[in-house]
């Protein structure tokens, strides 16, 4: 089964000071998750300031440049996981956020590959 894991956060909130060894710890974690065969794809995501919002209403398109700060946004990164079940995906997500130290991660089943 596949799952999408992503971090949600408030872009306007001051980013906490990154612990100096966080980079290394994240590297170790990613290696573990990769060798477990769980990570199928992963990437970082740019701030909304670098993106756009596209809406279509009553036949009319509206395109607005970022930033978008009204609600929590996807920040940091995302990962496509291949796990036996949701419980396993949750455990890996717990470990991921454990490396970061604080924050919120969502994990949801993704369809279409079966």
């Amino acid at each position: 089964m596949r799952f999408l894991g992503y971090t949600l956060g408030d872009e306007t909130a001051p980013q906490p000071e990154m612990a100096p060894d966080l980079f290394e710890k994240m590297g170790v974690f990613m290696e573990e998750a990769t060798s477990a065969g769980v990570i199928v794809a992963t990437g970082g995501i740019a701030p909304t300031a670098m993106g756009a919002k596209i809406s279509l209403r009553d036949g009319e398109y509206t395109v607005v440049d970022g930033p978008f700060t009204e609600a929590k946004e996807l920040i940091g990164g995302w990962a496509l996981l291949e796990c036996r079940d949701l419980a396993e995906a949750i455990e890996w997500s717990k470990r991921f956020i454990g490396v970061i130290g604080e924050g919120e991660v969502r994990v949801r089943p993704v369809f279409g590959s079966e």
Binding site: S35, G37, V38, E82, E91
Partner: protein, 430 residues
């Protein structure tokens, strides 16, 4: 509040940690069977405590610490056990088993190696292949006996016994817990790759039962492949095997039609082929080629699979390339089945008559007489050159030789279609 009940959460952690736990314990107590028992005992403790007290911050270390403590307890209580382990040179006090505090040591430097050691032990040639398969799924995959039994459609008791005997064989044979080096390594690695690919194939083309694929097994094999790629990244064929499995997996969704009937590769809806797996597979293939000379048997098979997935449409397939790759594969891995596939590629590249000539050569050896595919391939080619009565006979024979219900149905349908063409021809000549 999580909707996943605590037991499922604990079991998810356990499955993630299991192979590392068993590997680390095997290195300390010198016996795979005992290591597994200790791991299971630690799980029992986790199931009892974690729902009450919360999952520990470092569950892997918790489980290892508890398991080591139980090992020490066992040796102290059981003189016979202690004597047995003393005989094979294991002294609990000198193997880092004694830990007075609840310490969170990670033992990082041994982690990767222990799982690799474990894979080599589980796939040791002294074991029968069915034993290697069951033991690998159990120790590296963390599958329960029930899950393995279901995967191979066999009674649980059979699998359980097989695993017990396998562990005894390993102990009796005195197989060292180490990664083979030197002359031994190539053959031992070959055995590991063979086991993983057999697991994959069992899922990909189930020979028993009604369904054509059993994707959980494919998934387990791919996971093992990814683990090997991480633990033995310098090995070309490890990446070759992973490439082969990921590329084949990219087609899983397209292999079955709306009514569960099998769909042949050339008829599959290529929009249902998973581009992510294709990309990963092609990338692994590149890595395999950069590390070797491209003639490893898995790398070659992956290259053949890559030819298919690189074509957006079936009629764009580079059959000449595939035929050439099969020729190289036949040299590396002489096999009538490879020759049969080569014949199919030749027929696609040069026409059915050319392919038929190759198949007939193969048929004359008699080796594949009981193999249904040579008959369905021959039936297909005979039909294409207009020899419909012979095609019908071949498909009927193929149907009787396959155990897979879906394939049998496919062969019967083709036999009927060929029979109709015979009748039509007869009607036209009257």
């Amino acid at each position: 509040m999580t909707t996943i009940d605590s037991t499922a959460a604990v079991e998810a952690v356990f499955r993630i940690e299991f192979s590392r736990l068993v590997g680390g314990l095997t290195r300390r107590v010198g016996d795979v069977g005992l290591a597994e028992e200790l791991a299971q005992d630690a799980l029992a403790d986790a199931l009892a405590q974690w729902p009450r007290e919360g999952t520990p911050r470092n569950p892997g270390a918790w489980l290892m610490t508890v398991a080591k403590r139980k090992a020490v307890d066992r040796f102290r209580r059981d003189r016979v056990l202690a004597a047995k382990y003393a005989r094979i040179g294991v002294d609990p006090d000198s193997t880092g088993l004694v830990s007075s505090d609840f310490d969170l040591e990670m033992d990082d430097d041994h982690i990767a190696d222990d799982r690799l050691r474990l894979i080599f032990v589980a796939c040791h040639p002294v074991l029968s292949m069915p034993s290697r398969l069951a033991l690998t799924l159990r120790l590296l995959g963390g599958l329960t006996t029930t899950e393995i039994a279901r995967a191979y459609v066999q009674p649980e008791a059979t699998i359980a016994q097989r695993i017990v005997r396998a562990k005894k064989t390993i102990a009796a044979a005195g197989i060292p817990f180490e990664v083979p080096v030197g002359d031994d390594r190539a053959a031992r690695l070959g055995s590991v790759l063979e086991v993983v690919y057999l697991i994959y194939n069992e899922g990909y083309s189930a020979t028993s039962g009604g369904s054509w694929v059993r994707t959980d097994l494919c998934q387990e094999a791919v996971r093992l492949g990814r683990l090997l790629a991480a633990l033995a990244p310098e090995e070309s064929e490890v990446h070759g095997l992973l490439a082969l499995m990921e590329i084949q997996s990219s087609r899983l969704a397209a292999r079955l039609g709306p009514n569960g009937e099998p769909v042949l590769l050339l008829d599959q809806d290529r929009r249902r082929w998973d581009p992510l797996l294709i990309k990963r597979g092609l990338s692994s293939l590149e890595r395999a080629r950069s590390l070797g000379d491209g003639t490893g048997i898995y790398t070659l098979q992956a290259a053949i699979a890559a030819c298919h997935v690189r074509s957006r449409r079936a009629d764009e397939t580079d059959w000449a390339q595939i035929a050439a790759l099969y020729e190289t594969l036949a040299a590396a891995m002489p096999s009538p089945i490879v020759e049969l596939n080569r014949a199919v590629a030749i027929s696609m590249a040069l026409g059915p008559a050319a392919g038929l000539a190759h198949v007939d050569q193969l048929r004359d050896t008699g080796i594949l007489d009981r193999y249904h595919l040579i008959h369905s391939v021959r039936g297909d080619l005979l039909g294409k050159v207009g020899r419909h009565a012979e095609a019908r006979d071949e498909f009927e024979l193929a149907a009787t030789l396959t155990e897979n219900l879906s394939e049998r149905e496919l062969c019967r349908q083709r036999a009927e279609a060929a029979a109709r063409l015979v009748t039509d021809e007869a009607a036209r000549t009257e």
